[in-house]
């Protein structure tokens, strides 16, 4: 094995040499992976997916990834802030 995963842990390599389309279940799995790649766009796609694989497209995909990150991050921040407020309010309003 060489290439970028040459040193990867054996559990990462598991299945590396399985045939690409063994059955419907596995195919679904693979489809999900490709969709992921398209959505986030940060992967080195194994093949050029459109004739127009230029930089503008790259920038757009990076923006989408940033937006996704921001969504997850904001959600977590809101949860944290809510905990902070709830802890104080609970004891402010109800005592113990």
């Amino acid at each position: 094995m060489d290439g970028p995963v040459a040193g990867a842990a054996s559990h990462l390599r598991r299945g590396a040499d399985r045939p690409l389309r063994p059955g419907p279940r596995r195919r679904k799995h693979r489809a999900a992976r490709v969709a992921r790649t398209e959505r986030h766009g940060w992967a080195v796609a194994p093949r050029v997916r459109s004739g127009n694989g230029n930089e503008e497209q790259g920038v757009a995909r990076i923006d989408e990834r940033r937006a996704a990150n921001r969504r997850t991050g904001l959600m977590l921040a809101v949860v944290a802030f809510a905990f902070f407020v709830v802890v104080i309010l609970k004891y402010k309003v109800f005592g113990r």
Binding site: A43, F84, I88, K92
Partner: protein, 525 residues
């Protein structure tokens, strides 16, 4: 090709140099390095406090410090070690290693990452500076129990402010880690293929997001009790000091797992590398980590058996606590099973990792003993508890940090750390550690209370022994400083895969890791 695409996407300006480079950096490796340097400085500061404590306790009677100052020392030692040394060190490891392990080019929020770090030095200045304000530093213990914390001087306000800032820093760091792990993995790097260190940090980050706000709420309530006329914890105004303990430990117990889960992650990377076998029971490790995290929310009152809980409450918290020993046992079993019939060698990282298993497990057992309510009512607030938590925090968290540092120093610096000095560091540490803390079990069982500057004569021998051990342990840590400085400056060049059995994406990039890695994500199959 990679470079070209990247230049076109972001444009490459030569960044600022010198100090400005470090102040403005958004690079996960720079930030990771700063976290670790900060944490080591705090480790030495907290260490000086610990040695002053042990100097006072070398003999019965008062020799070195005043009792008031002694109380400030125990308080600040705890706060500095927990929030200044151990937690930031693990965040430093996360910053350096998680992007390398999952094949991401950086953390998800690179600029926020810079801010998370740079909040810490001002917080440290507030905390350490509080020694010099009128009345001195906070002396209520690291747990800041009411009513003491409601009554003290302005050192307490500085501590509260520092905790607020460090809490915000931790929450931002945790959000960054969750988003990085969830959204930035290279194609094919499914969650269940992630190195265990990433898993343990993902779960730790969730714990942080859940409980740091609770701590922030608790200290905010102390603040308003002190200055804004509320009576959350003030019995005279209808408040309840024991309620503070409930809120604090709802944070506090998950917090101790925040300090140990990433350590489990580090050890789970190192043992397979030096046993030259894949980790035994990878999936069960993930589930065990998650179970520990979930259970850690249901055991907080094991710190409060002596406050007079109803028997049903005591039983609940006692059994819930014992339940945590099950997933913890699964982990220890898996590490040992990984070593079983492996082709083991004992380079420095492996020495620290095996030392960790041995001594951490002893701390786990004393934890179980503390968890037995009738026993705990005897040992609560004695040196037995001090022995317990130093076995899990020093021999657990700190030893794992050293293991990880020796393991990844080649990746960070490009040079192999000195085996001779590393081994010397390990053997001195583990011997002096046990000389310091093992006698504390006996002291505690014999009834010596913690956080007291003087003691009865019958405790003298074990205390003298502990103090000698402590100075030996403290001095041994300077060996680590020498190793790191030597390693940064030169030494045997490290290969990309610095250790023969090491596996994972981080070993596919050159050593030292270039400033930018995985700008094109690797494909993991």
């Amino acid at each position: 090709m990679a470079a070209v695409t990247h230049e076109q996407l972001h444009g490459h300006h030569p960044g600022p140099t010198g100090l400005m480079r470090w102040i403005t950096t958004t690079n996960h490796k720079d930030i990771g390095t700063m976290y670790m340097i900060f944490s080591f400085i705090m480790f030495l500061s907290g260490g000086v406090m610990a040695l002053t404590i042990r100097a006072e306790l070398f003999q019965p009677g008062l020799q070195v410090v005043q009792p008031e100052f002694f109380n400030q020392l125990t308080t600040m030692h705890g706060l500095v070690m927990v929030f200044g040394a151990i937690m930031p060190a693990f965040v430093g490891f996360a910053n350096w290693m998680i992007p390398l392990m999952i094949g991401a080019s950086d953390m998800a929020f690179a600029r926020m990452n810079n801010w998370s770090f740079w909040l810490l030095p001002p917080a440290a200045v507030l905390l350490l500076g509080s020694f010099f304000v009128p009345g001195g530093a906070s002396a209520a213990g690291w747990t800041l129990y009411a009513p003491l914390s409601v009554q003290m001087g302005m050192g307490m306000d500085l501590a509260i402010f520092a905790i607020h800032i460090m809490g915000i820093s931790s929450i931002m760091g945790a959000i960054n880690i969750v988003v990085t792990v969830l959204n930035m993995r290279a194609p094919g790097m499914t969650l269940m293929k992630m190195p265990l260190f990433c898993w343990t940090w993902l779960i730790t980050a969730y714990l942080l997001i859940a409980v740091m706000p609770v701590l922030a709420g608790a200290v905010t309530m102390i603040l308003t009790d002190r200055h804004f006329g509320t009576s959350f914890f003030n019995a005279a105004g209808g408040g309840d000091p024991v309620m503070y303990q409930h809120i604090f430990w709802f944070f506090g117990h998950p917090e101790v797992y925040i300090m140990i889960l990433p350590a489990f992650g580090i050890v789970s990377q190192i043992i397979p590398a030096f046993a030259r076998k894949p980790l035994f029971g990878y999936a069960s490790m993930v589930y065990a980590t998650a179970s520990i995290a979930i259970l850690s929310f249901a055991v907080w009152a094991h710190h409060m058996f002596a406050t007079g809980m109803p028997a049903a409450g005591q039983l609940f918290f006692m059994y819930a606590t014992m339940l945590i020993a099950v997933p913890t046992g699964v982990k220890v079993f898996n590490w040992v099973a990984t070593m079983w019939r492996g082709a083991m060698t004992f380079e420095t990282p492996m020495l620290w990792a095996t030392g960790f298993i041995f001594v951490f497990t002893m701390g786990g057992f004393t934890g179980l003993i503390c968890a037995i309510a009738p026993i705990d009512i005897q040992v609560q607030d004695t040196y037995y508890v001090v022995a317990h938590f130093h076995y899990v925090l020093v021999a657990g968290s700190l030893f794992a940090l050293f293991a990880g540092a020796y393991y990844w120093l080649p990746k960070w610096t490009g040079h192999m750390p000195s085996e001779g000095l590393g081994k010397l560091h390990f053997w001195c540490s583990i011997v002096f550690f046990n000389i310091t803390f093992f006698p504390m079990h006996f002291l505690g069982l014999a009834g010596m209370p913690r956080r007291i500057p003087d003691y009865a004569l019958q405790f003298a021998d074990f205390n003298a022994m502990a103090s000698i051990g402590a100075f030996g342990f403290g001095l041994s840590q300077l060996i680590f400083l020498v190793v790191v400085v030597k390693c940064v400056r030169g030494g045997e060049r490290a290969a990309a895969r610095a250790w023969e059995g090491a596996e994972g994406l981080e070993w596919t990039v050159p050593s030292p890791a270039p400033h930018h890695t995985f700008e094109e994500a690797p494909i993991v199959r």
